[in-house]
């Protein structure tokens, strides 16, 4: 059964539409990410589910029961804000244990539960200290611990890792994933970071300007993005999208762009002839799918100029100029092409995505 269902949610603040007809369902035990840029409406959505804001329209069900008119505490959900406050006079332990002390839990159970969380979040060494002595990262981890120890029916986290050092963010991202695998809590996780969303989630809702752009598993949003925004938001570096016109020769359909011509797969050809684009297309290809070679070949027939190289250790990213477009390609850190000024590249037909320029939606 669905743990949480959000249906047709709308919210306006004056002239600004914060949420525009947002609907989705979250299964029990899922980690569900709400991903989008600043001002997408992510935090508003959480506050409406928590009961801190009232929606203008739409329903919210938790465990099959409408909660629209319930007060925040009656909804039995918990929400961790981006800037959370700890109780300054309580120790780390008592801060984490706080939600458990509202009744029914024995001290030895509390010690067990806090212990498990503390190990996972690596805060055992500060449990006996007070928050004034914590570093920023330690404060954040204690606050996360407090939220996780008693998550309610749905635990909602608003950018929990955003203000942390990059290194700690990576560590906690992995700790979160592990924790979720072990405990199966229902979590709604808000972030602007696609890496966090991809690696943590069972399902992702991608939001922009209050509208839902795609709802899907990490594999779906990565390998089958619905539209330009999703393709350019997901992936690091994101999908290349290069403008092209369709042209038929000897009954084969080609995408012809500035500096390249690529044949279109029969699957795409069928779809395109069923509904021809009004304003040309863009060919989309993930950087790891771009073929890169040192010389012209059937696999790499497109001439490109190597503009610059980013070396990330386990891989390198080439920025290539093709015609008047910039194309990114991922190569091995040892690939000698990085030292060259020219390269030959290819866009394999089976890895191509075709975007209808007039609708900004992919042809699928």
């Amino acid at each position: 059964m669905k743990k949480l269902v959000v249906n047709g949610l709308r919210k306006r603040f004056g002239a600004v539409t914060a949420l525009d007809d947002v609907s989705f369902g979250v299964e029990a035990g899922q980690l569900f990410c709400v991903l989008g840029p600043t001002n997408a409406g992510k935090s508003t959505l959480l506050k409406i589910i928590a009961g801190l804001y009232r929606a203008d329209k739409g329903e919210i069900d938790i465990d099959g029961e409408a909660v629209n008119y319930l007060l925040p505490h009656e909804r039995q959900v918990s929400l961790l804000f981006q800037n959370m406050a700890l109780f300054p006079t309580l120790t780390g332990f008592d801060n984490v244990a706080f939600p458990l002390r509202t009744g029914g839990v024995t001290e030895s159970e509390i010690a067990d539960k806090v212990g498990v969380i503390a190990r996972l979040l690596k805060i055992e060494h500060i449990l006996s200290r007070r928050p004034a002595t914590f570093s920023g990262g330690e404060q954040q981890r204690v606050a996360i611990g407090r939220a996780l120890v008693h998550p309610g029916r749905v635990l909602m986290l608003d950018e929990p890792l955003t203000n942390l050092d990059a290194r700690l963010r990576i560590e906690l991202r992995i700790a979160f994933k592990k924790l979720h695998i072990e405990r199966n809590q229902t979590i709604i996780y808000v972030t602007h970071d696609q890496v966090e969303a991809m690696s943590l989630s069972d399902k992702i809702a991608i939001l922009k300007d209050g509208r839902l752009y795609q709802l899907g598993t990490p594999d779906e949003v990565y390998h089958r993005p619905a539209n330009r925004f999703v393709a350019e938001f997901i992936g690091s570096p994101p999908m290349n999208l290069v403008r092209a016109e369709l042209s038929e020769k000897d009954s084969i359909l080609y995408a012809v762009g500035n500096g390249f011509t690529v044949p279109i797969s029969s699957r795409h050809t069928a779809l395109l002839s069923a509904s021809p684009p009004q304003n040309g297309v863009a060919v989309g290809i993930r950087p790891e799918n771009v073929e890169v070679g040192g010389s012209e070949s059937p696999r790499s027939p497109i001439a490109a100029k190597v503009m610059w190289v980013e070396s990330l250790g386990s891989k390198s990213i080439l920025s290539l100029e093709v015609g008047n477009a910039l194309v990114k390609a991922v190569v091995k850190p040892t690939d000698p092409i990085q030292k060259e000024h020219r390269a030959w590249i290819g866009f394999p037909s089976q890895a191509l995505h075709i975007l209808d320029q007039s609708t900004d939606r992919f042809v699928r």
Binding site: P37, R167, I170, H192, P218, S236, W308, G313, S314
Partner: protein
């Protein structure tokens, strides 16, 4: 190449975090040098001293081979951009950009030309008439950068300028900033805690911790030849695996034994016999679907999906080992086999936390 910026024994004593002790390094002319380290390592303190916002207790700062330690900020010829963007919100973007030129007495026609030119380069043309207050965070930060760039400082000091931006905006700005720097030939001194940012943009990276310089080198050097456990763990996402190993033998001739995998390496290294550590990057864990020589069986506990690649978390003793794989290689619960690309592993002395070189590395009998 000529030295643009040189620090000689730079020291700032604080009771709290952020102190700097005896920092010496050189940024070459036209170089993009990143100062990378965790919060409180002294990197921002260092930048503030170079900028002249903070006085050093000891040591010297040289810009263009001239000691500037006693000069005020405006006479040091540096451009500064911080995490919090300095943009005049009541002025248009155009006026914001022209401001620094006006202060320098550049004539009106020349000002207009330079504003137009830079705006085109930075994709700000469409924003020129907008007021600062109407910009979003990413536009604001680009304008802040442009304001500094337009006066063409030959040394640009940047203190985590992208920290407040969305991840996707940050990724785009990285490329833009790098291109811009290349085009203008400035020397950039870039302070960051983000190893990904440092790796992708820098010519060289200086890694700092506790007020001290640990290692300086190209991104490849820092990644492939970290000098200590700290550097090895600080660089790389997904992070490096650190596991226990036993070093056997002595007189410099050693064998490295890893629990469950047996003797994985032999060679010469300056390390005592006993329990030490081995660092293996996740993409140097080699995976097989069926049993192969030197492999051990393991189970996939969970998977992080990054789209282009997956990171598998594999059972190993009481821990988990991270290994990168192509998408779809193995699902949670799958039994697969793994071994390590030992030529790319790092032997870490458990006593000193320093990486020890193994010379004449061979596979033991």
């Amino acid at each position: 190449m000529d030295s643009k910026l040189e620090l000689r024994g730079l020291t700032k004593r604080f009771d709290a975090v952020g102190a700097v002790s005896g920092l010496s390094l050189t940024a070459r002319d036209g170089e993009f040098l990143s100062l990378l380290g965790p919060s409180g390592c002294g990197k921002s303190t260092t930048l503030a001293m170079i900028a002249g916002l903070l006085r050093a207790d000891d040591g010297d700062i040289l810009i263009d081979n001239r000691v500037v330690s006693d000069l005020p900020t405006q006479q040091r010829g540096v451009g500064l951009v911080f995490q919090d963007y300095a943009v005049f919100t009541s002025l248009s973007v155009e006026a914001n950009l022209a401001f620094g030129l006006e202060a320098k007495g550049v004539r009106r026609a020349e000002r207009k030309r330079r504003v137009k030119e830079l705006a085109e380069q930075l994709d700000l043309t469409s924003l020129l008439k907008r007021r600062g207050a109407t910009l979003n965070m990413s536009e604001m930060q680009r304008v802040a950068l442009a304001r500094v760039l337009i006066v063409e400082p030959s040394l640009l000091l940047l203190d985590e300028p992208m920290s407040n931006l969305d991840a996707s905006v940050r990724a785009n700005l990285r490329g833009e900033l790098r291109q811009m720097q290349r085009a203008h030939g400035q020397t950039v001194f870039y302070v960051t805690h983000d190893q990904g940012e440092a790796l992708s943009m820098s010519d060289r990276i200086a890694v700092m911790r506790g007020g001290k310089l640990l290692q300086i080198g190209t991104p490849e050097e820092i990644y492939q030849q970290p000098i200590s456990r700290f550097v090895a763990e600080f660089i790389g996402d997904p992070p490096i695996n650190i596991i226990a190993c036993d070093v056997l033998g002595n007189d410099g001739s050693i064998i490295v034994n890893v629990p469950k995998l047996g003797n994985v390496a032999a060679g010469r290294g300056a390390i005592s016999a006993g329990r030490h550590l081995l660092g293996i990057r996740p993409h140097n864990v080699i995976l097989e679907r069926v049993s192969a020589p030197d492999t051990m069986q393991t189970t996939v506990r969970f998977v992080e999906n990054f789209g282009a690649e997956h990171v598998l978390h594999l059972e190993y003793l009481d821990e988990l080992i991270r290994a990168t794989s192509v998408p779809g290689f193995a699902e949670v619960g799958a039994h697969i086999y793994m071994r390590f690309d030992i030529a790319r592993a790092h032997l870490i002395d458990a006593g000193t936390d320093r990486v020890v070189r193994i010379d004449g590395l061979v596979k033991p009998e």
